[in-house]
Symmetry: D2
Subunit: 304 residues, 4 copies
C-alpha cells in the first residue's frame, strides 16, 4: 500500500461551542490534546463528529489550523473537507493541504442523489487540486448516497484517492469490498458497533469518536487484533460494545459532549438545533461508563 | 383555515447558473415569469428544485429578491429558508419576510438525526422571529428525517406554522395526516407521482416543478379536481404521469433544465457536482414530452 | 376486457373454526350468506383472510364446496388455490373448477425466493390445467415475492390469466401497472387503506375483508366512484378509513372475527398459533365500529 | 450451558427428488453420509435447505427416519419440524423425538404476522409436547417475522428451548443477542456470509449447507476459530466467502444441487416451482468452485 499514511485507531474530536454557540477553539485544542496523549494513532477533525456541515467556511478554517497546530506532527492528521458543491470542496481541500494536513477525508454529500459519474467527477476534480492522499468515505445514512464497491474501485483509479472508509454498518459490505478492491487496498471501518467484525475482516483502521471517552479500550482492541488473538479481541470488544452502540444511537457529538462532562472534562456547548442529551439519557450513559471503567479490570497486557 | 395563503398548483422554479456556475439572475427572472403567466397559483423559489443547499447566503438573498420583484404580487410567493443551523434559518427567514415573501417553507435539514424536541424548538425559534405563515415540509428522502403526524400536529401549535407539505410518497400517510390533524388543516402534496391520489385524499395544493415544462396539464388536473370530476381527473393525470415519474427519478433540477432546453427555452447550466442528463436520458425525456404535448388533444374544457 | 368476470367489491370471508380448532362449515356458510345478501359483487373464499395456508387439503376442499353451494350462482365466486408447490396448486385448481368456481386467485407463495422464470412456469402449468380465468395476485408482504409490472405483463400472455390483484400498498405501483399493462387490463386493489386512491387510479375492483363488518360503506364507496363523484367518494372513504387501517394492522382474520362478535354475529374460533385480539384491541375496534355506524349518517343516496 | 448438544459446523442436507419430483430417499441417504464422513459436527435435515415446506407430512416423516437411520448416532441430528399451525408442529415434533432426533429446530413460520404472545404460546405448546432440546430459529427473510432479542430471551425461559439460531444477516444483532441473553447462552449463526464475524462474536456453531460442497474449508474455519487464531481464521474465511455468498444469493437447494453435479456427485432433481440454476449461473458456480478447490493450497495445518 503506497500513499496510505493511516492505520489503527483514528480518533475524531468534536467541535465544541461556547455558551453563545460560537466555536470554542481553546477547548477544542484541549480535547485534541487528550486524544493525542491517550494514544490515538491519528486525529481526524471536521468529520461528522466535528459537525462539519454546521460550520461556516471561516470556522472550518480556524478548526483545521488549530488541530494541525495542536497535533504538531505527533501523529497524522486526517482533515474532513466535504461540501455539497465541488467548488467549495476544492477550496477547503487546498486550504487543508496548505495548513499541513496529512490526508483528506471526503464524503459525497448530497441533497440531490448523485450519479456515479457525478461522484467520480467530484472526487477527480478535488483530487487534482491537491497532492496529499484522500480517503473516500461511504456513509449513506448521513450522505444519502451509497457508493457501490464498483464505484469505490473506480475512485481508487484516481492517483491520490488511496483509502476507503466504509460506514454502512453491514459487515458483508466489507467482505465484498475486500474481494472487489483486492487485499492490498486499505479500508477503514467507520461503524463503531462493527469494530470487532471489521478488524476480523481485515480493516486497516477504525475511525471513531469513542477515544474521547474510552481511549484505553479502543486502543486495546486494536492491539489484540494486531496480535492475532481472537479470544482477547472478543473480550475487549464486549467490554466496550454497549458504549459504542449508545454513542451511535444518540448521535456522536451529543453523546461525546455528555460523556466528557460525566468524566469531569469540559464538553462545551452544542450548536442549535442540536440539543444536549436528556437527563434520562445522561443517566444511561453514566451507567454504561461506570460499567466500562470500573469493575472487572481488563487484563493489563491489553492496555499496555 | 386562517393564515393559509396558498392553494392549487404551487410552482417551483429552478435556480439556473451561467457557464461559470454563477447564479444567472436574469435567466431566473425569465423562468419565474413563465411560471406566473402560465397560470401557476403560487411561486416557490429556493426549494429543493431551486438547489437551495448549494447556494451561498448572498446567492440565496439575490434569488429571493429577484423572485419577489419579478412575481410582483401577482400570485403569492413561498420562499424556502431551510438551513442546518437554527441561527442561519432565523437569519434567512427574517430576510425573506423583509423582502416581501408571502410565506416560508422550512424543512428540518439534518446531518445528525434530530429528535422531535430538537425539531420543535427549531421551528419555534424561527417562527417567533417572523410574522408570516410557515409551511412545515416533510421529506425524509432529502432531509433524512421523517416527521410523524404526531410531531406535525405539535408543530401546528406554533401560531404561524399553518401549513404542512408532505413528500414521503406514501398516500396512506396523507390519509393519516388528515385523520390526525383534522379536516380543517391545510396539507400539500410534494410528491409529483401522487398528484391524483393526494388531491383525491383532500390535499389543498400541489407543490411541483412540473409547471416549468407542462403547466397546462398541471393546472388542468387541479381544475378537474376542483370540479369534483373523478373521471376527468384520472384522464388528465395519466396524460402527465410518465413525465412526473421521469422528473422525480432523474432529479428535478437536472430534469427541468433538460426539459426547458428541449422546449426551446433556456435551461442554463447546473452547479457541480450536478451534471446534465445523459444523451440517452434527454432522448427519453424528448419522447415523453412529445407524447404529452402532441397527440390526442385533451378535452379543451380542462385546459380552459 | 374478455374473460374478466369480476368487478366492484369482492368480499373475502374468513374461515371460522370451532372450539377444537376444526373448520366450522355451518358457520362459514352463514358468514358467506351475509356477504352475499349485503350486496357484495363477488365472494372470494380461501384467500389470506380465509387462512388458506393453515388448512389441510381436505379442509380446503370442504370450504370450496361449501362456498360455491351457498353462493349458488347469485354472484361470481373467486377461489384461492395457492400452494408452495406447483403440483398441489394444479390439484386444487382442478378441484375448484370442477366444483364450479367462476375464477381462481393465485399468489406465488414462496419459501425460497422464486425467479421470474420459476413464477411464469408455475402460472403457466396451473393455467394449462384449467379453463376458467385466473387472477394473478401480488402481495410481497405475505408471499415474500414482489412481482414486477414487467413480470405481470408476461403472465397476462397466458390465455386465461386475465386479472391482476395488486397489494403492495404503493399507489405508484398501480399507476405503473396501468401504464405498463395498458388501460384495457383489469387490475384489482388488495390493499384496504388504498381503496380510494386505487379506484381513483382506475382499479376495476376492490378485494376486501371489510364487507364482513361494514358492507354498506364499502359498497357506497364503489357506487360513488362509479358515478365519478370525487367529493362524495372522499367523504365515504374517510368514514371507513380508520376501520380499514385497523383490520389490516391487526391481521384480517383476527380483526374480522373480533368485529363479528362485536356486531352480535358469530365470529367462531381461530386456529393456533393465531390468537384473538387482546381486550384492549377489542375496545379499540369497538370504538371505531361505533363511530362508523352511528353518528352523522351518510347521505342516503350513497347507501342506496 | 446445559441441554445444549450442538456446536461447530452443523451441516444441512438438501432433500433430493427423482425425475418425477418424488423424494429420493436412497440419494438423500448418500448425501447425508457424505456430510457425516466429511467431518460435520451435526446433521440438520428438514431445514430451509431441505425444502421442508414443500413436503407432505408423509414425506417429512420418511426423510426424518432416513436421516436418523443413516447418521446412526455418529453425530447429533437436529431435525426441522416447523409448520404454520401449532397442531402440525406438535405432531412433527413428537414424531421426530420418537424417531430419535437429538434436538429440534423450529422457526415461527407465518403467513399472518404473529404477535410476540402468539409466538411464545406456539413454542410453549410444542416444547411441552417433547423432552428433547429445541433451537429457536430467527430468519425474517423466510419466516416473515423478526423475533427481537427480548422475545428470544423470553423463549429461553421455556425449559427445553435452549438454543438460538440467528439469520438476520446483521452482525450487530448477534452482539445484541449476546448482551441480552448473557454469555452462557448458546447462539448459532445461520447466515453463511457472516461465518467469520459470527464466530468472532462468540457463536457456538454455524448452521450451513456449505458442507455439501466445501466441507474441508468450513471445518477449517471452525478449527481456526477454536484455536483463537484471528489471522488464520480470516485467511480461511476469504477462501470460501465468494462461494458462501453465491449459494445464499441463488437459493441453497438450487445452488447445492448444481454444485453436487459439478463435483461429480448426484444432485438429483428439484420440486417445481423451483428450477435448476441457469447455464450461466452454473458456469459461475463452476468458476468459484474451481478457485476454492484448486490453487494456492491452504496451509495444511488448517485442514488437519
Amino acid at each position: 500500500m503506497k500513499n496510505v499514511p493511516l492505520k489503527g485507531v483514528i480518533a475524531y474530536p468534536i467541535t465544541p461551542f461556547d455558551a453563545l454557540e460560537k466555536v470554542d477553539i481553546p477547548l477544542f485544542k484541549k480535547q485534541v490534546e487528550r486524544l493525542v496523549v491517550s494514544g490515538s494513532d491519528a486525529i481526524a477533525p471536521l468529520g461528522s463528529t466535528g459537525v462539519l456541515p454546521y460550520l461556516s467556511d471561516e470556522e472550518k478554517e480556524a478548526v483545521a489550523e488549530a488541530a494541525i497546530q495542536q497535533v504538531a506532527g505527533r501523529v497524522p492528521t486526517l482533515l474532513g473537507v466535504s461540501n455539497l458543491t465541488t467548488e467549495r470542496t476544492v477550496y477547503h481541500a487546498r486550504f487543508a493541504e496548505a495548513a499541513g494536513a496529512t490526508a483528506l477525508m471526503i464524503i459525497p454529500m448530497s441533497y440531490w442523489k448523485l450519479s456515479d459519474e457525478e461522484i467520480f467527477r467530484h472526487y477527480d476534480k478535488v483530487a487534482a487540486a491537491v497532492s496529499i492522499p484522500i480517503m473516500a468515505y461511504n456513509n449513506p445514512a448521513t450522505s444519502g448516497i451509497d457508493m457501490s464497491p464498483a464505484l469505490l474501485r473506480r475512485l481508487l483509479q484516481i492517483p491520490n484517492v488511496t483509502m476507503i472508509k466504509e460506514s454502512t454498518g453491514d459487515i458483508q459490505r466489507m467482505h465484498l469490498l475486500r474481494k472487489t478492491l483486492g487485499e492490498e487496498v486499505a479500508f477503514y471501518n467507520g461503524s463503531n458497533p462493527l469494530a470487532l467484525a471489521a478488524f476480523a475482516a481485515g480493516a486497516s483502521g477504525w475511525c471513531t469518536a469513542a477515544p474521547n471517552l474510552i481511549p484505553e479500550l479502543n486502543n486495546a482492541l486494536y492491539k489484540a487484533v494486531l496480535s492475532g488473538d481472537l479470544d482477547k479481541s472478543r473480550q475487549v470488544f464486549y467490554r466496550q460494545s454497549e458504549l459504542l452502540q449508545f454513542i451511535v444511537a444518540k448521535g456522536l457529538p451529543r453523546a461525546v459532549q455528555a460523556g466528557l462532562n460525566l468524566l469531569g472534562e469540559e464538553g462545551g456547548y452544542l450548536r442549535s438545533p442540536l440539543m444536549p442529551l436528556t437527563a434520562q439519557e445522561i443517566s444511561e450513559l453514566e451507567r454504561i461508563l461506570s460499567l466500562v471503567h470500573s469493575p472487572a479490570p481488563l487484563d493489563q497486557s491489553f492496555i499496555s
